[in-house]
Amino acid sequence: MSESTTPPPRRSALANVWHPGDHGRIGFTGPQVTLRERRDITAIQLDAQRGTTDGVGKAVAAAFGLGLPGPGRATTTGDVRALWLGPDRWLLQTATPADLEPRLRSLTEGVGGVVVDQSHGRTILRIEGAKARDTLAKSTGIDLHPRAFAENAVAQTSLFQLAVTIDRRRGTSIFDVHAMRGFAVHLYEALLDAGGEYGVRLV
């Protein structure tokens, strides 16, 4: 019988491959793409059972002051961000290690919410910089132009043969890419390769 009570630090899927520094072709302006891993994110999937969309939405709004976004969108309040993932399905994210899952469970289960913890299931890479969009465009077929994919736009799509979520954050060229944890190394290698001509800074 062991006496541990607090969990150890979380280990990134990229722990063994992430080498901070500049990679690829570095021009005089420096790397035009920056990659960082968003670690220790709590990410809870929230579904609404049939006919409970409004009720679940209200419960979340009351507790977090956060409106659940419609298709292809994300909303943020404080340190909680909600992403639309599919019909009656959202992902609630926070960087503050907190009790998001039990809170959501207790708030929504009575009104038809279904809560599934996905905090460990996804690797999230933040890609930013002048050539972030071009780097992603080498593989995804969605239109990343600001006219079509504005701030707080979210898409489930394909990237380097993976099913991913692309979340356009604030600013002109900041994207979060969520991929299945098991494919993290593939995503990382593919992004480094695609961004090589622009220069990639790993933070």
Binding site: R10, V114, D143, A190, A194
Partner: protein
């Protein structure tokens, strides 16, 4: 490499003019010989500048060939470019931009370009007519004998077996308006759409904008037209939403206005800079597509029209104006349209001696003709070249008047080293055709023009047969404006069409072949590359190959690397003449992508090598790697196959010993295996129990909370699809596991039933495969190890966690799910851990297990353990197996309907002769029973041998029972326990006598599971 020490003088270069940069001389080699050209040259223009006339050899007759064109349509001047892994055979010299140090060699000749043994084919050409090979080579010694020689003689350039060192990539983009072609009409279209604010992409195949304007001497608004091009280019460059891609060929139009385009990022360099792609394949999704793809000039068909020095008239002008090259010193010009006069005037102006200008049309007036006459050129109307002479280059030709009825008047010999010919221009309707666009025949230009098309593509300028500059410009402006408007952009004032200085042209008069000498040794070529002559077309017609598809396949017309860009229409017109029908009745072949050939690597993009297909790694991957795991791929996952100790090499014996060790450890002590790859699906909702009851063949309604159950799923056709355990975590909350291979399919199937088939069921399903790392702890000491590792408060006694029980617990401070389930047949637990803590918990279990001799094990050991227990996997469940076949027929519930039940009583499924799952052991107690062996009654029977079944899985040695074992399927197998049959493996001349036993070799009562 030493270049240019004795570089040959550029004998055919004009002293001034052209787009070349005379301050940037570039050394290059052709067939090992050093030359010099300039930046801005193509290989073709540089060779012509140096007086090189013969560049290649034709496919069949190996006739010497020179440069015909100045563009992508080139059928003759094909070379092998570069070397090593970068070698590119069949490269069109007209499209290769010259770079310093370029190396090219001629191809399809032996021993040299000047002396090619295979030119003997030319002498035997009367036998080698279209389709001759279908009529012979059938007898002794057989086709393969002849084929070997034919194959060696065929082909064009040589490939390489070295790997290409360059990288390739794809790029995706969206736009409102895509303009294909950067000539005057394309530029005008892009300008208008861009000014309206639309997102515009303009792709241009060559290195610069202007299209034909680069090759002509026209004016716009009284200034040289290239000035307008420069101004337009600058305006486009200033527009944020306009992107101009040069060196980019739109090669295919696909569904819904997706256009494939190939950007040659670094082909104009000796090698791509590091990290840069050599080529980039664009996926352009466009709102509107404007095709400004121009037109391709047709050669004329006359005797010896393939001689080096016979060129397209428009190409001659390109070489004069764009490259400042005179392809000859003494020229004869022949045409069925005014381009002959235009070319002759330009040649004369460049100082070339124009020996004769021939117009095949009946005598008549015309502004161009008058100009030529006024310039003192010797013009003959209703006359043509009837035969050209000169093996390695034109030395002269016979010219004659035409009587209009297939006969010629007196012939006269004219010395010359250049024959510029024009048979009119064919609009490039390829992209239009890719999208099911129809082609309409236009008698005025004797060519197909774009007709109706479903995708709404608009062709402009020469691409729709409007060859005048003013027309092209106004066409482009209009199309650009309309396209932007259709995409929702407001259009400003329509500018006036720029003013040009065009001279009115007289109509073309088609002439598909020029009559000539009846001497059968004189050949008149329709398809230059594949050596298709008018005689071949006549023969095909005679033999009944009278559709264009038959003609093409029988004669190989248009099947070369140029895909008949200069020959198809002429060939079809000649067939139409033979059939006595109009050309549109005879039809044209439909074009398919790609417009010009595209490298395989460009299509593949970055999906090369290990990135061909993504691999998936478990949360404990790094631990396995550090502890000697040899990985094997299973359903995209990298899984430990077995573990090596440090310093041990990967020999078969070592592998066998490692696996035995791992199996023994599990049976006698305790082992730990990574099972993260199994699919895990979270199932929640009020109807979850009902749902599971429908998708599993066995009952799930009565499963209590906190319990797991093994389940089998069928396909709708009654065949076993997948299996796994499903646990009830709460009243309306389940966790399903699937096999590794079928995880994605099962989830999609569950979604299918919920969304489409039973929308009344209120259930949500989500993959949580990646959220949870999973490991199985198995062996007699498993409980002791788990107890030692578990945190305070996590009880794992048989009471607290009985067989098939499920509890939440904590290990190393990590919240875990514990399942008392077993695949190995030993006391076993599966531990599910949030993935980022997978390694922590794995290490905690290893540490806790050390006193008990815990051993990590891999897939090989797991495979042996499960065979010992008779557990089936996809080796058995091969998509043809029923529940009864694997002895699980009784599991199917008779009280409910489930997926696949409606099919279960088909006659074939209840046939008692069906092979059934059995265990097999060697009668001699030692010979291995290889998987893939076939079960037969008597190994000595000659074929065809009646087959009783097969061996599905084999353990070369079961360490537990001490001999090889196997699982297989045997007809009436359940009735044959104790009998012997033979497992035969004729591929290796093996046969093993085997005894049929129960398909469970260890602990059939399952007592070890329940301790």
């Amino acid at each position: 490499m030493i270049f240019g020490r004795v570089a040959i003088e550029q004998s055919h270069r004009l002293p001034t003019g052209g787009e070349i940069d005379r301050l940037a001389p570039l050394p290059f080699r052709f067939d090992g010989k050093a030359y010099r050209g300039y930046a801005g040259d193509t290989l073709a223009s540089a060779l012509l500048a140096n007086g090189v006339t013969v560049v290649g050899r034709s496919f069949k007759y190996h006739r010497p060939r020179g440069v015909l064109s100045a563009g992508p349509e080139e059928p003759n001047a094909l070379v092998e470019l570069r070397g090593g892994g970068r070698k590119e055979p069949n490269s069109r010299a007209t499209m290769i931009e010259l770079f310093a140090g370029l190396e090219a060699t001629s191809q399809h000749r032996w021993p040299s370009l000047a002396l090619d043994i295979m030119e003997l084919n030319d002498l035997a050409s009367r036998f080698l007519v279209a389709g001759f090979y279908y009529k012979t080579f059938m007898g002794f010694p057989g086709w393969r004998f002849y084929e070997k020689r034919i194959r060696a003689a065929a082909g064009m350039g040589s490939g390489t077996v070295e790997w290409d060192p360059d990288r390739y990539e794809h790029m995706n983009t969206h736009c409102d308006v895509l303009v294909a072609g950067g000539g005057p009409s394309g530029l005008a279209a892009a300008l208008m759409a861009g000014r309206a604010g639309a997102r515009v992409i303009l792709v241009e195949e060559t290195d610069g904008l202007g299209g034909r304007l680069r090759s002509e001497r026209e004016t716009i608004d009284d200034k040289p037209a290239m000035g307008w091009v420069a101004k337009t280019r600058a305006e486009l460059a200033d527009m944020d939403e306009v992107r101009v891609l040069t060196r980019t060929t739109a090669f295919g139009c696909y569904d819904d206005n997706m256009v494939g385009a190939l950007e040659r990022v670094a082909d104009h360099l000796a090698a791509p800079p590091e990290h840069m792609a050599r080529q980039r394949l664009w996926h352009i999704r466009a709102g509107r597509v404007i095709l400004a793809t121009g037109a391709i000039e047709r050669p004329l068909v006359f005797g010896g029209n393939d001689r080096p020095g016979v060129m397209l008239a428009g190409a001659v002008r390109s070489y004069l104006h764009r490259f400042a090259v005179t392809p000859g010193k003494r020229a004869v010009v022949v045409a069925n349209n005014d381009d002959g006069y235009r070319t002759a005037l330009d040649l004369a102006r460049a100082g070339v001696e124009v020996m004769q200008v021939l117009d095949t049309r009946p005598a008549g007036a015309g502004a161009w003709r008058e100009r030529a006459v006024a310039a003192g050129l010797d013009v003959m109307q209703r006359a043509a070249v009837v035969n050209a002479y000169g093996r390695m280059g034109v030395v002269g030709c016979d010219v004659a008047t035409l009587d209009g009825h297939g006969g010629v008047g007196d012939t006269r010999y004219v010395p010359c080293d250049l024959i510029a010919a024009s048979g009119g221009w064919s609009p490039s309707v390829h992209l239009h055709s890719h999208g099911d666009g129809k082609a309409d025949w236009d008698d005025g230009i004797a060519a197909f023009v774009p007709g109706a098309n479903r995708l709404g593509h608009v062709s402009v300028g020469a691409a729709r047969g409007r060859f005048g500059l003013a027309e092209a410009l106004s066409d482009g402006l209009k199309a650009g404006a309309e396209a932007a408007k259709a995409c929702g952009f407001a259009i400003g004032a329509h500018p006036d069409t720029p003013i040009t200085d065009e001279i009115a042209t007289a109509p073309l008069k088609a002439i598909w072949s020029i009559p000539g000498p009846t001497d059968r040794t004189v050949k008149r070529f329709v398809d230059l590359q594949d050596d298709v002559t008018i005689d071949d077309i006549a023969l095909a017609h005679r033999e009944g190959f009278v559709s264009v598809e038959h003609l093409k396949r029988y004669t190989t017309l248009g099947m070369g690397t140029d895909q008949g860009k200069t020959s198809n229409i002429t060939g079809h017109a000649l067939l139409a003449e033979a059939r006595g029908q109009p050309i549109p009745t005879v039809g044209t072949t439909r074009f398919r992508p790609p417009y010009t050939p595209v490298a395989m690597a460009a299509f593949a993009g970055a999906e090369r090598g290990l990135h061909f297909s993504p691999v998936r790694r478990s949360a404990m991957h790094d631990w396995h790697a550090e502890h000697g795991a040899v990985f094997v791929e299973a359903g995209a996952w990298l899984r430990p196959q077995y573990y090596l100790r440090p310093g041990v090499t990967k020999a078969k014996a070592v592998m066998d010993r490692a696996i035995e060790t791992e199996v023994r450890a599990v049976r006698s002590k305790v082992g730990l295996v990574d099972v993260s790859t199994l699919g895990k699906i979270d199932i929640q909702g009020p109807d979850a129990a009902e749902f599971l009851n429908r998708v599993y063949a066995n009952g799930f309604k009565a499963l209590p909370v906190g319990k797991a159950r093994y389940g089998l799923m069928l396909r709708e056709d009654g065949i076993v699809d997948d299996d796994g355990t499903t646990s009830r975590l709460g009243d309306t909350h389940y966790l399903m596991t699937t096999t590794t291979a079928h995880a994605a399919k099962v989830l999609a199937d569950l979604e299918w039933y919920l969304q489409v088939v039973w929308p009344d069921l209120d259930v949500r399903v989500t993959s949580v495969t990646e959220q949870w790392a999973a490991m199985a702890l198995a062996g007699p000491k498993a409980r002791e190890v788990l107890a030692a590792a578990a945190d305070h408060g996590t009880a794992v006694s048989n009471d607290a966690l009985p067989y098939l029980g499920v509890i939440n617990g904590s290990i190393a401070g990590v919240p875990v799910r514990l399942f008392r389930i077993s695949f190995s047949g030993e006391l076993g637990y599966e531990v599910n851990v949030p993935a980022d803590w997978g390694t922590s918990v794995w290490e905690a279990l290893i540490a806790a297990g050390e006193p008990h001799g815990i051993t990590p094990y891999g897939m090989e050991a797991m495979g042996i353990l499960r065979i010992e227990k008779g557990h089936v996997t996809h080796a058995e469940l091969d998509g043809r197996i029923t529940l009864d076949d694997v002895g699980m027929g009784r599991m199917a519930s008779s009280k409910k309907w489930f997926v696949g039940r409606g099919m279960l009583d088909k006659p074939a499924f209840i046939d008692p002769e069906r092979p059934k799952l059995v265990g097999l052991v060697p009668v001699d107690g030692k010979t291995r029973i290889p998987a893939g062996a076939i079960l037969v009654a008597d190994p000595a029977t000659p074929p065809p041998v009646p087959k009783l079944g097969h061996v599905a899985s084999s353990a070369y040695l079961s360490p537990t029972v001490g001999h090889p074992i196997a699982l297989g399927f045997l007809a009436r197998g359940r009735d044959r326990l104790g009998e012997t049959v033979w497992a035969v493996f004729p591929l290796r001349n093996l046969s093993v006598q085997v005894k049929v036993v129960e398909p469970c070799f260890v602990d059939p009562e399952g007592s070890r599971l329940h301790v």
